[in-house]
């Protein structure tokens, strides 16, 4: 019985990480593309744009980090 639970936990961890990485990947790529456009349009603001981009990417990354923590818990705590 416990082996089935373990297998389900591992499978769930893989699914959780895979699905949880979809959204942040899309969002961060979109942010970086928009930042590229902004820098191409006004190169003198490159520092400010890069800073804002990094902060925004880190915020949108947090859901991916949550899924990482959840899948680590599934692997090591269940």
């Amino acid at each position: 019985m416990s082996e089935i639970v373990r297998a389900a936990a591992l499978l769930g961890a893989g699914l959780c990480m895979g699905m949880g990485a979809l959204g942040p990947g899309l969002g961060e790529g979109f942010t970086a593309g928009k930042a590229c456009e902004g820098i191409a349009r006004s190169p003198e603001n490159a520092g400010l744009i890069t800073r804002t981009m990094l902060v925004g990417q880190a915020v949108s990354e947090s859901t991916g980090i949550y899924s990482l923590v959840i899948s680590l818990l599934l692997i090591f705590a269940v």
Partner: protein, 276 residues
Amino acid sequence: MKKKSQKALLIILAIIIIEGILSIGLNHELQVGFDEGKFVIRNIESKKSIQDQINHEFQQYHMIKLFGKFIINWSVLRVILFVDLFLILFALLVKRKMHLIPGKLQIVAEMIYSFFFSLVIETVGEKKKYFTPYIFTIFVFIWLCNIIGLIPIPGNLEPTRNLNVPLGLGIMALMFVHYSAMKEKGIKLYLKEYAEPIAFMLPINVVGELAKGISLSFRLFGNILGGAIIVLVISNLTRFILIPVGLNLFFGLFIGTVQAFVFTMLVLSYTAVAIK
């Protein structure tokens, strides 16, 4: 003058060596030498499986009981104290030789400080420039905590890898945000903001405020721990030859710097929203 700075460098080196001697026996992460006729560069307790190694990364066992009641995780606290000692030494060295024409150390310190000074002024305005010391300190502390894992001393793990450290930093940041909001607005207006659209929204607002602190600390923790586990797994696959160096550079230097900056920037912008 030059002899003094050499003396300071010697002191720092001595501290590093003492820390290395203190940490012998905590865990045998680094091992250089011959093992069964083969030259071993890095060997993390090779008898254990990778699962046990990752479990070990999680736990960081070395508990000390104080007065029979308090339990202190010495393997984390040791590295934090080392970071603190380094910061205090740096500050003393800079402060001792303050000149109008800056020396080398003073230039470095002034560069970082003026960067954060301009950041604070841009975000919260000229009047609130007294936020700068806290913001500066929290950045330097988290940054050093993240990159200290690059120094190859046994047991020299990043303190931010343990959840307790980012959680403490997050709680501190949350208290800072709310205290400055209370001080700025007055306690009546501050409490009134929680029931802002309608009184029904009170629990949702409270949970939203708490989630800020939790997401701050979990972001730092997850990034550092995830990087550490990736480095460990890939080092195991490649038998600790050459590739882990590049990975350590990416996860330790780049991710560590970005996450420290993001932590400070988010605290600053939360404060800017709260005192508006």
